[in-house]
Structure formats: structure tokens, C-alpha cells
């Protein structure tokens, strides 16, 4: 298994001098099985440079898994060049949206309305397939198996665990750890706390024997109180989480769009310094920042 990052920025693409080292494209991760099978996690603007790379070897057979349908995770989809070329097959997987009452098939249709994009979905030349996924039900892509898990964000968001070739990785998509909506002195506090704990435990359980944990680390612990309910996690929280689940490597991604490369390294360094262990030493998990072009072999 090989993992490559093509977009690591959260919320909105942020090109410019201050993001040149880590990159300004929004979320897109390529996962390759040893047999060459291709899984793409999210279709943010980072999918466009990936598409250029893929065009070198046709036909393209891609399975795209959308964590959720917020713009920064889907915006590159109409620019995923292989969809315009006959002979290619692109299968798009994602969650059922309870609010719109529709499956993942709406993701392209919504973006390709004629006021917003010059080409209609019906005009795409590749074979495009959609698969609305069920939580916990694995999907096979060659030597890889992708399992969706329900995480916590202001829209239904699936985290994807990918297993294959004896290795494993998990990508949260956008995720804010579950929290109690009641105050400790409210009547419903204890009961809700139990439910929150059960949900956290269930996720941790699903992440057993994991090699790489890729997590939405938009904020720092100090910034978080002003961002509660926005649906994102913290660097500090994930340094704790990766240890709890016993994964080998933590990759922090979905960098805050206004955060410069220097600032990103600074907040990450501070978080690591305060996490109570030295990543990568004495059996502790490794912790790194995601950047465009980063390749990992778990």
C-alpha cells in the first residue's frame, strides 16, 4: 500500500507564498494497492494535479470515496479530467444524506448545473458510477478494502478505513470528536455522556491495528473553544488519540486556510512539545504534518 497527499488544506484552497511548502489545495489523498488499484479519498482541488498524473496511463480506473459533500472535499470532481475521456471508469462512493434524502449520486449533478459548470453530467464520456455506502459495510477495490465509519461533522461524514496488502490506514474526513451537549449540572448529562463514550469507544475499536491515522487537525487546543460545533479536530487531541488507538503514525491534515507554513510548523511543534511523549521514540507513534506530494508507505 502507498499513500500520497495531493491536497491538505481545509475549507478553501489557499495558494500563495505563505503556503508553498505544505500546499494550498484542498483535500485529496491517493491510496494505491500493491496491485495498482486506485482509491482516491476526497475530491478537493488536489484531485486536479492527481488527474494530470493519471492521464499518463490510460485507461483510468478510479474509485473515489467522498467523506462528505462540503465544497472543499468535492470541488475538484468536475475537473477530474479522466471523466471526460471514453474508456475510463470512475466510481464515486459516499454517504446517504438524510437532509436532502438523496444518495451520493447528487454530488456531481449539483455541481454540474448549467449556471455553475459548462458541461452537463450527461455529456461526460467516461463511465461514471455511483455507490451510496452503508456504515461498516466494506467495499473491495482490487487488493484494497474500504470501510466507511460514521464520524461527527455538520453534515453526514464518513471516515474511511483502508486495509490491504497487510497494511491499513484511516482518514477521518472532517471530524470533531463527540462531546456532551449538556452541562454537568443538567439532568441529561450523565446519560448523554454514556452515549458519547460508547460512540468514541466504538470508533477506537474499529481502528485497532492501524498503521496510519490521517486526521482533520484544523485547530489547536487553544483555538478550539471558539470553534466548538464547527466539526473539526485539534492537533493536541489527535496526538492523544493516535496513542490511545495504538496506530503507528499520525498525519495531521486539513490545515487551517489562513495558517502560513511557518505558523503551521510552530503550532504543530508546540503541540508535540506538550503532548507528554516524544513521537517516534520508545515505541511512541510518529507524528507528521501532511503536505502536498508527501508519500507514505505504511
Amino acid at each position: 500500500m502507498k499513500i500520497k497527499f495531493w491536497g491538505v488544506r481545509g475549507s478553501i484552497a489557499s495558494p500563495g507564498q505563505h503556503t508553498i511548502r505544505y500546499g494550498g489545495n484542498t483535500t485529496c489523498i491517493e491510496v494505491r494497492g500493491d496491485d495498482g488499484s486506485l482509491v482516491i479519498l476526497d475530491a478537493g482541488t488536489g484531485i486536479f494535479p492527481l488527474a494530470q498524473e493519471l492521464l499518463r496511463k490510460m485507461p483510468v480506473k478510479a474509485n473515489i470515496f467522498i467523506t462528505h459533500t462540503h465544497w472543499d472535499h468535492i470541488q475538484g470532481l468536475p475537473f477530474f479530467t479522466p471523466i471526460f475521456i471514453p474508456g475510463n471508469t470512475v466510481r464515486i462512493h459516499g454517504a446517504f444524506d438524510v437532509v436532502s434524502g438523496r444518495g451520493i449520486e447528487q454530488v456531481m449533478e449539483v455541481q454540474m448545473q448549467y449556471s455553475y459548470f459548462p458541461i452537463r453530467e450527461a455529456e461526460l464520456k467516461a463511465t461514471i458510477e455511483y455507490e451510496t455506502l452503508n456504515v461498516g459495510v466494506p467495499v473491495s477495490v482490487g487488493s484494497l478494502t474500504v470501510t466507511p465509519l460514521m464520524l461527527n461533522h455538520p453534515v453526514v461524514n464518513f471516515g474511511y478505513r483502508v486495509d490491504g496488502d497487510g497494511k491499513s490506514m484511516f482518514f477521518t474526513g472532517d471530524h470533531e470528536p463527540w462531546a456532551n451537549i449538556y452541562s454537568p449540572d443538567d439532568e441529561g448529562y450523565a446519560e448523554f455522556e454514556q452515549m458519547v463514550q460508547a460512540q468514541c469507544d466504538q470508533l477506537d475499536q474499529s481502528l485497532q491495528n492501524l498503521d496510519v491515522l490521517i486526521a482533520d487537525s484544523s485547530y489547536t487546543k487553544a483555538e478550539y473553544p471558539a470553534k466548538i460545533g464547527w466539526g473539526h479536530g485539534t492537533i493536541e487531541g489527535h496526538l492523544e488519540w493516535v496513542r490511545r488507538v495504538g496506530a503507528k503514525t499520525l498525519v495531521c491534515t486539513h490545515h487551517e486556510p489562513t495558517r502560513s507554513d511557518d505558523a503551521l510548523e510552530k503550532v504543530f511543534g508546540d503541540a508535540v512539545a506538550g503532548c507528554g511523549y516524544v513521537p517516534g521514540e520508545n515505541g511512541a507513534p510518529r507524528a507528521i504534518l501532511a503536505r502536498e506530494g508527501l508519500e507514505l508507505i505504511p
Binding site: V135, N152, H153, V155, V156, Q199
Partner: protein, 288 residues
């Protein structure tokens, strides 16, 4: 378990989508969601008092799309699982359907119905806390109380003429409403409520409880004991109208758990004023 004619079950199942929610919850949801920072717990407090919103949320979340290992049985659990923002937007969608009018073509008073459902829900939860700890989740008993008569709201909304005849028959002949329904409609609200709950893949125990709440020969369970006793207490204290007035000849529904003396069980609940006032405030239809 017997079944409803498939066509009727299908028709009613679809019709629920168009069923408006209760006036107070619609008003409160619209009010709360105007503020982007509204407190999640305030939203939950509103949704969990409305049988229509609660039914619709449980229906969505227990549907096959999320293939949950365990059934979701409360609004709180739904919030943990789907996130508060999704629940907020779902409830806004429900609010947009409209509001249930107090008086419908069936002449069924939804204000009294809601009052009854809320009292039974709160009492059932309290009974579970007092006398069934470890056997049943008190929140599940709350939902059982809130939804046990949902079939009546469905009849009133979608089979108004038949339901009106049944209500008149019950009153004129002094028989329980479910017996009159059986006579006039060929099925009763308990059965229809249970069939719909089953169709929506609600937890088996909840389905069973809704179905059995009038059946004296039903297999007892902690949830059913709490539900039926709460139902009796609500009727005896005349809190809300169930269409089934209290009869002095009635024996306590779950003597093995709560004893023979219903008045003693009522006394054991302590001060009921708080949730009576709460239910009254929520059920009351504004005249403006």
C-alpha cells in the same frame, strides 16, 4: 404478529412524510434556529416533546442507509450519531411541512393527545428509574410513552371519517376507544402504530410495547409495565385525554412490579407538578 393489509401500511407509511408536526415545536424550532449559535440541548428538548418529529427522526436514522448495529431509540442518541447540525436541519424540514391544526376533520383534539402522550412519557421514564433500574433504559420508556398512541394521530390525520365514527361509538356506548376502532376500522391504533414502527425498523421492544399496550394477556416486560402503569396514571389523574376515560373498576396494570394500589404508585412518584406544567406548556395551542 398479524399484519395490516400491505397497501394500507404502505399508504400510511408514505403519508407520515406529509404529516405536520405540533404547533409549539414548529414555532420553537423556527425561533431557535434563527440563531446560528442556538444550544443543541434546547433543540433536543423541543424535538423530544413532539411525537411527529421524534417518529420522523427515528425513522430516518434507523433506515437501512446507516445499517446500525443497534437501533437508535432516542433523540439524544440520534444527535450523537448524526450530529446536531444534521438533526437541526432535519427538524427544520419537518417544521416546513406545516403545523397540525388543533381540530381536524376527525374532531380529534391534538392538544389533549399531546398532553396525554407527554405525561405518559414522563411518568413511564420516572417509573423505570424507580422500579425497573437495570432492566430497561428510562429513555426508551419515555419514547414508548410518547409514541404509544401515535396510531391515533395517524387515524385522525389520514382516516378522519372512520376515526370520528369510532370515537363517537366509544363515547355513546361507553367502550374503550381501541375496541370501537376495531369495530369500525377493523384494526386499532395500537396495532397500526406498531406496524408503522416496525416498518420503520424501530427497536423490537418498542414495537411490541406499542402493540401490546391495551392487551391484558400480553407477555409482560419492564417497558410494558412502565408504559401501561404510566398510561393508567395519566388517565386516573385525568391529565390529557386518551379517548379512554378511567374506570374505577380497573385493576392496576402491572401489580407484580408496582403493587395493586395505583394511588400508592402515584404517591411514590413524588411531586409531579414540574412535568405536568412542562407538558401543559408544550401541548397548549396558542389562540393567537
Amino acid at each position: 404478529m398479524a399484519t395490516l393489509p400491505l397497501e394500507l401500511e404502505r399508504k400510511l407509511g408514505i403519508a407520515i412524510e406529509r404529516m405536520p408536526a405540533f404547533p409549539k415545536s414548529v414555532q420553537k424550532i423556527l425561533e431557535l434556529t434563527r440563531n446560528i449559535n442556538c444550544l443543541p440541548k434546547e433543540l433536543v428538548a423541543v424535538i423530544e416533546k413532539d411525537p411527529v418529529m421524534t417518529v420522523k427522526i427515528l425513522k430516518v436514522i434507523n433506515s437501512a442507509y446507516y445499517s446500525l448495529p443497534n437501533k437508535i431509540t432516542s433523540v439524544g442518541q440520534s444527535v450523537v450519531y448524526l450530529g446536531i447540525n444534521t438533526i437541526k436541519n432535519l427538524s427544520l424540514g419537518f417544521a416546513a411541512v406545516g403545523i397540525l391544526p388543533r381540530f381536524n376533520a376527525a374532531g380529534f383534539d391534538i392538544q389533549n393527545y399531546l398532553m396525554h402522550s407527554l405525561i405518559v412519557a414522563s411518568v413511564a421514564r420516572q417509573l423505570a428509574q424507580l422500579k425497573a433500574k437495570g432492566e430497561v433504559d428510562p429513555s426508551d420508556c419515555y419514547i414508548a410513552g410518547l409514541l404509544h398512541d401515535f396510531g391515533k394521530a395517524v387515524f385522525a390525520q389520514f382516516m378522519a371519517a372512520e376515526f370520528r365514527t369510532a370515537m363517537t361509538h366509544a363515547e355513546e356506548n361507553n367502550v374503550p376507544l381501541h375496541e370501537a376502532e376495531m369495530l369500525v376500522i377493523g384494526t386499532d391504533h395500537a396495532f397500526v402504530g406498531a406496524m408503522l414502527a416496525k416498518r420503520w425498523q424501530f427497536a423490537d421492544e418498542l414495537v411490541q410495547c406499542i402493540q401490546d399496550h391495551h392487551r391484558m394477556d400480553a407477555e409482560p416486560s419492564a417497558m410494558l409495565d412502565c408504559l401501561r402503569t404510566a398510561n393508567q396514571i395519566s388517565r386516573k389523574l385525568d391529565l390529557g385525554k386518551s379517548g379512554n376515560p378511567w374506570r374505577d373498576t380497573e385493576a392496576a396494570a402491572a401489580p407484580a412490579r408496582f403493587g395493586d394500589d395505583l394511588d400508592a404508585t402515584i404517591a411514590s412518584l413524588g411531586d409531579m407538578e414540574r412535568f405536568i406544567a412542562d407538558a401543559q406548556m408544550f401541548a397548549q395551542v396558542s389562540n393567537s
